[in-house]
Amino acid sequence: MAENKQAKQPKVKEPKVKKEKKGMTIKTRRSLEGIMFITPWLIGTAIFFLFPLITSIRLSFSELTSMAGFEMEWNGIENYRYLFQQSTTYIPNFLAEVKDTLIDTPITLVFSLIIAMLVNRDIKGRGFFRTVFFLPVLLGTGYVMEVLLGSEMNGVITIPSGLLQAIGASFAELVTGFLSRITTVLWKSGVQIILFLAGLQGISASLYEASRVDGATEWENFWKITLPLVSPIILLNFVYTMIDSFTDSSNKIMSDIEHCFSNGALARGASMGWFYFAFTFLVCVIVLAVMSRLTFNQGER
């Protein structure tokens, strides 16, 4: 592109040359324009992201000596040592949250993909179903959702107790645990459904037509066309779901941090957050590394 422009440049006379700053090639000008476009974000990154991020890391390795002036004193891994050796709640809460996230994330992904595929079909009342499945996003990501799910969600789906006895106690526990979880999980998958829907819509219908002509079944279509093409969205949704459950207001670690905040134990709260974040980040990186090999890339764009 840039070369093409450069070749054209000498032909254009007065007006274009005037606009160019002297001694600047098209390429530099283009990159300057690009930087101009991201300038607001660059400023924001420095002020609202990098500075707090670094302060927060420093804080997690320090002791807050004066609240007013925000003076810190380096004390090494003292805060972290407290979390692992003295705190009675941090490790159990941490493990519980990790377990929940690991169970919830695959369920969310599978269900939201299924729902997105269902409402992507040519069915009657598509608009109605789409609105219904997006409703939880409207109703709240925070307090309102907690109120609704907290008080109402016991036993939407129940299984007859005879059936439960028939399938054995341990398996029954698993099933009931799954069912009690499923409403909450489904309710938190509105955005994922939307993203999958966007992805499914982007797949060209001619691909399906071609494969139907070649005699492929719908089952084969799913594995050979749909899944590879939405795999980047699966990745995106995976990260989104992880972060969502990580920052959820019902998350025990988050409420611990908020508790630390209101008690003035800022350094301890920072170290709590950082250890948890580092762990989640590590999981995300591992999954990204593994899945980016499996996801289908549509060539260079």
Binding site: F37, P40, G44, T45, F49, L200, Q201
Partner: protein, 340 residues
């Protein structure tokens, strides 16, 4: 003679029967296919309605519970249909939330619903314009460090606010921004705030999918970069803009964590969702005074009023969404996330 005629007739009859059989078998095949299709679609609708029910259940119970009288709430046989509709619950909730009460600090804003509307609108405008701007830069220009910066955008999506909240709080208090809307609004104009990185990602993805011809034509005609963006590219991004606006409005409206940190000392500036816990506490106090028992503040006494107030909090969102629902879904479909 007769024999041959007979044979001919027989042959004709056989032929006809064969034809009929063939016809029937064709018809049968069709019906079988139809039956299969019918069963599949019945199954499909069953699954859809089941899922829809699971999604709607809390919402329906909220509306039903909000209209129940005290007697109905206690009576467990009354689950779906209240014996009488108690509209006064909404009156109590309306007053309890101070929905439209005039606040003295911002006389032009009436009540807590207006606080929420104000913050949500300003934040959304900031998010939409700035994230489209930045996303366009990432999608269309090559500059040194672009990949690194974009990875940084993704990182900002990953880092939760809770990790950054202490330094931010100290920073804002140093600038005198506490108990003010500034900490909620200003970051939005720099691509931060509530999930700013997500919108940048969204717009980048969209602009990547657009053809280059328009911009080239504009540039050859001497249109500057800024003008090209605002006059040509932004109007083309209507669908993505709508998706960004809807999500930003919804998330800002429901945001609870950050306002509860930054606005603690300014009850007049409180946003609508933050009013809920305060209202529950007030309700409990009234109830415990009346019954003279110490109640746990987490136990909500009057479920009906609680549900009515929750419904009132999300009502403006529902109304607003009804208007943009169709365009929003179209916008989602055109967002070009897979781009094939």
């Amino acid at each position: 003679m007769e024999k041959t005629a007979d044979r001919a007739a027989q042959r004709a009859a056989e032929k006809a029967a064969k034809k009929a059989a063939k016809h029937v078998s064709v018809q049968n095949r069709f019906t079988k296919k139809h039956v299969r299709k019918f069963i599949v679609s019945v199954f499909l609708y069953l699954v859809l309605f089941d899922l829809a029910f699971v999604f709607l259940y809390p919402f329906i119970t909220m509306i039903i519970d909000s209209l129940k009288s005290d007697a109905d709430l206690v009576n467990i046989t009354v689950k779906w249909i209240p014996s009488s509709l108690q509209w006064s619950n909404y009156k109590v909730a309306f007053d309890g939330l101070d929905y439209f009460q005039i606040s003295s600090t911002f006389p032009f804003l009436g009540g807590f619903v207006m606080n929420s509307v104000f913050v949500t609108l300003v934040a959304t405008i900031g998010h939409t314009f700035v994230c489209a701007f930045v996303g366009y830069g990432f999608a269309r220009y090559k500059f040194p460090g672009r990949t690194v910066f974009f990875l940084l955008v993704i990182l900002t999506m990953l880092v939760p606010t809770q990790v950054l909240i202490f330094p931010l709080y100290i920073m804002y208090s140093g600038w005198g921004w506490l108990n003010n809307y500034l900490p909620l609004l200003v970051p939005c104009f720099f691509g931060y705030g509530l999930r700013g990185g997500f919108y940048i990602f969204l717009f980048r993805q969209f602009f990547l999918g657009l053809p280059y011809e328009m911009e080239e034509a504009a540039r050859i005609d001497g249109c500057g970069a800024l003008k090209t963006f605002f006059k040509i590219m932004l109007p083309m991004a209507r669908s993505s803009t709508l998706v960004c606006v809807v999500l930003s409005v919804v998330w800002h409206w429901n945001d609870f964590f950050e306002p509860s940190i930054y606005l603690t000392q300014a009850p007049k500036l409180a946003l609508l969702p933050s009013r809920l816990p305060a209202m529950y506490a007030a309700l409990n106090q009234v109830a415990s005074e009346a019954e003279d028992i110490a109640l746990n503040s987490n136990v909500v006494v009057n479920q009906a009023i609680c549900m009515a107030s929750t419904f009132l909090v999300i009502l403006p969102l529902l109304i607003a969404y009804m208007f943009v629902q169709k365009q929003f879904m179209e916008g989602v479909e055109r967002s070009g996330l897979t781009g094939m």
